[in-house]
Symmetry: C2
Subunit: 434 residues, 2 copies
Amino acid sequence: MISRVLSAELAEHAGQRVTIAGWVHRRRRLKSVSFLVVRDRAGLAQAVTANDPPSGTRQAGPSDWGLPAEETVVAVTGTVAANPQAPGGHELVEPSIEVLARPGAAPPFDLYRPAVTAALPTVLDHAPVALRHPLLRAPLKIAAAGVAGFRETLDRLGFTEIHTPKIVGSATESGANVFAIDYFGRPAYLAQSPQFYKQAMVGVFERVYEVGPVFRAEPHDTVRHLAQYTSLDAELGFIRDHRDVMAVLREVVAGMLESVRRRAAPAVSLLGLRLPEVPAEIPVVHFTEAQRLTCSSEPDLSPAQERWLSEWADREHGSEFLFVTGYPMAKRPFYTHPDPHRPGYTNGFDLLFRGLELVTGGQRLHRYDDYVRALAARGEDTGPYEGYLQAFRYGMPPHGGFALGLERWTARLTGAANVRQVAAFPRDLHRLTP
Amino acid sequence: MISRVLSAELAEHAGQRVTIAGWVHRRRRLKSVSFLVVRDRAGLAQAVTANDPPSGTRQAGPSDWGLPAEETVVAVTGTVAANPQAPGGHELVEPSIEVLARPGAAPPFDLYRPAVTAALPTVLDHAPVALRHPLLRAPLKIAAAGVAGFRETLDRLGFTEIHTPKIVGSATESGANVFAIDYFGRPAYLAQSPQFYKQAMVGVFERVYEVGPVFRAEPHDTVRHLAQYTSLDAELGFIRDHRDVMAVLREVVAGMLESVRRRAAPAVSLLGLRLPEVPAEIPVVHFTEAQRLTCSSEPDLSPAQERWLSEWADREHGSEFLFVTGYPMAKRPFYTHPDPHRPGYTNGFDLLFRGLELVTGGQRLHRYDDYVRALAARGEDTGPYEGYLQAFRYGMPPHGGFALGLERWTARLTGAANVRQVAAFPRDLHRLTP
């Protein structure tokens, strides 16, 4: 490995001669000295160098500076000196610069400007270079930290990680919005969720989770839908009802935030984020109460109602999180467990966060006969579900689970208006590259 | 949550009255007592109960036992008593049994028999119930522990987790063996690897990894190929050459094994596995030396040669792992970095483990012009690679990486002859369900 220290470690090497390596983030020429700001995975560091004797021309351009252009890959060796103005309070003096690779073109927008000056389509078209901008890579670091916290929490609670098929023989969640695929000459589909597999695996490991891609042929161009997104799925058995699932979800969300604080502190600080607190008990309203509060009689909550309820929870309960429970049967998938005490309503829930539905979950049916009845009630044949229903023929405990969309979570945390801003290479109706 | 202790925790509750919950693994009736063996996620536990007064018939069948059938989901409350013959050395006496869910059918084969009595197709057709067999679920536990060790090691080394598109606009690794998909009326493909994306992300985070599904429309029915498998991918920048990648890979493999030992000890013990030691320095042979040793002049190694070389490494170096480096250009993908000292050969490597190629990796090209030249040399147009090549226009450090197939790794560790035995719901030429 190239022997070097990271930008963030300079202070530990004050007075020593060390090498840093990274990309030229910015060159700046003052009257008698020039600065070379280098970007590496840990942040920025600067090297300061005396200017060459005046070249005679007053308007010497960047190519005359003797400093490599922005995005050149360099290793810079110098002596670490304190300078309160430098990033991290230290800089390299008396540097020698080795060029490791030269760029063939200038980036489509200046990566060194504090704000992102390009519009979203330009950013997305040039993702491999655009994501180098500190403000654009920070959300991906926060996403990674969140996922690590998801796993860490569930590992601690005795869950087992699984990997399930993304190619399935029949459309699962619903017939609509599936991508068709040619599977050795036979029709097949991309999985819209690991729903049925994670339920089946409750029969094997009791508590399972999966982090993986799911696919929705979403024909609408919205700021909160992607054709592929990363779904954080969990499912657990031996519950009493959906409230046990909500309790685990509360731990998971708290664990994800704790992990973001611990693992992505520089990104949080760079973006100036205020991370939410998770109350020991997240407030809960029943769907009928949510209707009453928003003066509605519709069988589902609109985005405007979700926003209103979120604000209400913040105002009344000091919580940026709110559980809505008991959604009507008609609006939940057939595998949702009904509320035994309230006909027409379910043990399904949503978790709202900052005005948006973040997680959907609930208790599921666990008896084979109940599945057959539930499908019949919707006028559906059991045929396409045979593989799915198999697990329930052989004894399944009461169970439930939830799914959290990673991009939606990251967008809410970072204040991104569009989920495309927090996915490395988003896929949507119009976008298949890069 | 149903209040209970796990089977493996019984010993900690000696003398107390506790509840266990799980599936009826087996019923056994002796002359005066009967045993109910319960399986939960931690293992097996038994409850012992006095038989009812003799029913008068000498050949009372299982239905007369008064004990629920195999795979019934139960909660059993009893007093913990020591019994050296019981699983874990303790059992529940004076039990009361609550049935949580009854199976509608008997499993396709007896899950309680120590060995798996069904043939592989039966196991795969009935995966949701078959995987409940302790011998069949153990490899999945070992797989999960291995993946956890992969991430843990790379997190420690400063890597960032990424999630990349599985739907791509053009076939990447090679034109063959890709699944075609209808993407909103346009042709698209399932990604054969995250290769290009992980390379691009080296420009953002320097060191990245991804755990995710990859897809190969493999038209051959072999014991080591699947149409979907879980790929453990890593890529890192600022390397000197492929040897730095090999050093990281050595750490990763050691970390995966350490994690299996720590997180999956019961599964390792149940399967009676001997886990390999990873030498501080894994032995290395150059491809030309491997040819000499196996008396071959072919431009690639056959499975038989790989086996021979593995045995040789074990015999000569006491290592079950062997690096083969320097594969010929003609046999490696176009993005492979040539060996600057040996024309015609590359900085690409394979890691052999117990006779099989487990990992492929190497140093990659990092200059845009080198990519253009490499594609031209293979008579390929740069058009389909534009998105890929973009990252290299803007300055990329010397970098490399590797990919490890999770199912192949797990099969080698557990001694499974077929990768289908260690995937929960495998996909192949003939199999699309369950």
